[in-house]
Amino acid sequence: MQITPLGDSALTLTLGDSINESTHRQVQAAWRSLSAEPLPGVSEVTPAYTTVTVFFDTARVVAAGAPEDEVVEWLTARVRERLKNPPKSAKAGKPRTVEIPVCYGGEYGPDLGRVAAQARLFPEEVVKRHSAAKYLVHLIGFAPGFPYLGGLPKELITPRHAKPRMAVPPGTVAIGGEQTGIYPQVTPGGWNLIGCTSLKLFRPDLNPPVLLQAGDEVRFKAITPEEFKRLEEEAR
């Protein structure tokens, strides 16, 4: 594991050099160890695909005992120590599985045909394969609640649009290259839109404010437009 400065207010721990489940588990373990009981002066710890980033406030780190000339060295030593002796509260729970009802195709997924053509499959077969796979939430980023999911079946890999759409509706399930994700808010987006869920991915009134968190398992369940409309009504 490498620990390198990210400017003068953060350190990045690098735990692997490719996106895979074993690196993901190491990232999650390190993130839990460092965020369960924050180190002195640390304001926030963020996991990504292969890295964990520790944000700190220099004045507080120095107030906690770091020599002024050795802020990075001191904090790095604390991080390494912590990873060797993780607090009990950092133990992993069982991964949650979250089922996401998706209405595929039609107005809900205008690019389903494009994905199907790319894969040389019927659209129904794309839906079957996309909803049969098991996905892992690697990280949440890009927008509040946006999950980067690993586990897309290889045959469904579809290049991004050359020109991004100006506004992708919230709840849209999309494929961008090897990645799949769900847009929580209206944003511009260049991924292929294949369906839509009525579930809210970002809920600022709740704690945590997101439906999905890094480490969760996700399964998509195909539903009809009628079911989608009913769920949407219920969510109001």
Binding site: G7, D8, E44, T46, Y49, V71, G141, G145
Partner: protein
């Protein structure tokens, strides 16, 4: 108690941001120049994290219904109170019914206006800062100010109340003392920002490494609360290389395939996928919030240990000012 007569171009309620939620994709945000905001708050006796107004390019017209103690700093705005100039960097008493007008910025782009007590808007996920993209925080679900809005402030503290009363008995309604954020800590020369090398420094070829610190960089129109894109020599990698997205931080200089660097500001995304050639020292990030399109800036390279020293020195200077101000009414 404060009526918005004119909102200005982009005036928002901000505090020191919403840390702790980047793991959920929520930006930290907050005042673009956190240090300037802290100093504005300090001048009116507020906590560092009190909510204040951030304005950009053209400021608001605000009518105060009650007497208040205010202070502003940042770029050089055409600011008036009841038609007279509103002095910068000092506590000023506003009388009931008076209007503060911030015209157009003459130099710089942004300014911060603190009101004693701090603005009273709902705390959302631990912060009062406006987060436009997610439509939350600030005074009205993440929206900038609009004409007709009414803002409330919390009751001023004891110190501010004393200062307000003493100014009420004098002809001049501004304090004689000033606190200028740009004088705290050792300063970089005008047009220069200090920077340390970034995590992917070694990915860049020798020409790029030299050009970063040897060239003048021009601020472009592509600038917002997320970052500022600079224009200059193309910064190239040794060979094409893809980065796996990882967390980014305020001040990071990332280089997309165009070769033109982008300096990230507080409303940056939580993760980025472009190689990071350098990082602006925290004490100098505020300079990017004042750069107008076409203005030039140079990077001065410094060791990381020096960047920490600058931060600590600035905090010590601020601490001394804080103690001095406390004694004024003690």
């Amino acid at each position: 108690m404060i009526r918005v007569l004119k909102p200005g171009l982009l005036t928002t309620v901000q505090d020191l941001g919403r840390p702790g939620y980047q793991q959920y994709g929520v930006v930290v945000g907050g005042a673009l120049d956190a240090f300037a905001a802290r100093v504005a708050n300090l001048i009116v006796g507020n906590d560092d994290n009190a909510a204040l107004l951030e304005m950009a390019q053209t400021g608001p017209d605000l009518q105060f219904e009650r007497a208040a103690l205010v202070a502003w700093n940042g770029g050089d705005f055409e600011a008036t109170i009841g038609g007279r100039p509103l002095l910068r960097d000092r506590a000023v008493r506003v009388e009931p019914g008076e209007t503060l007008s911030f015209g157009v910025a003459r130099r710089g782009l942004r300014a911060w206006l603190a009101v004693a007590g701090g603005l009273d808007v709902p705390l959302v996920m631990g912060s009062r800062s406006t987060y436009r993209r997610a439509g939350l925080g600030g005074h009205n679900n993440g929206r900038p100010l609009a004409a007709g809005d009414r803002l409330q402030a919390f009751a001023p503290g004891e110190w501010a109340t004393t200062v307000l009363a003493s100014l009420g008995q004098r002809e001049a309604r501004a304090t004689v003392w000033t606190v200028r954020p740009e004088t705290l800590g050792p300063q970089a020369p005008a047009g220069t920002v200090r920077a340390v090398i970034g995590p992917e420094w070694d990915w860049f070829n020798n020409d790029a490494q030299k050009a970063l610190f040897a060239s003048e960089w021009e601020a472009t129109r592509e600038a917002d609360r997320m970052g500022v894109r600079l224009h200059g020599p193309e910064l190239a990698l040794h060979k094409p290389r893809e980065m796996i997205s990882s967390a980014v931080n305020t001040g990071i200089v990332q280089v997309p395939p165009s070769g033109q660097p982008i300096v990230l500001l507080p409303s940056r995304q939580s993760v980025g996928g472009y190689p990071r050639i350098a990082a602006v020292a925290s004490v100098d990030v505020g300079r990017f919030t004042q750069l107008r399109p076409g203005e030039k800036v140079r990077f001065e390279r410094m060791p990381l240990a020096v960047a920490f020293k600058l931060q600590l020195q600035r905090e010590r200077d601020l601490g001394r000012v804080r103690m001095g101000l406390a004694r004024l009414t003690g």
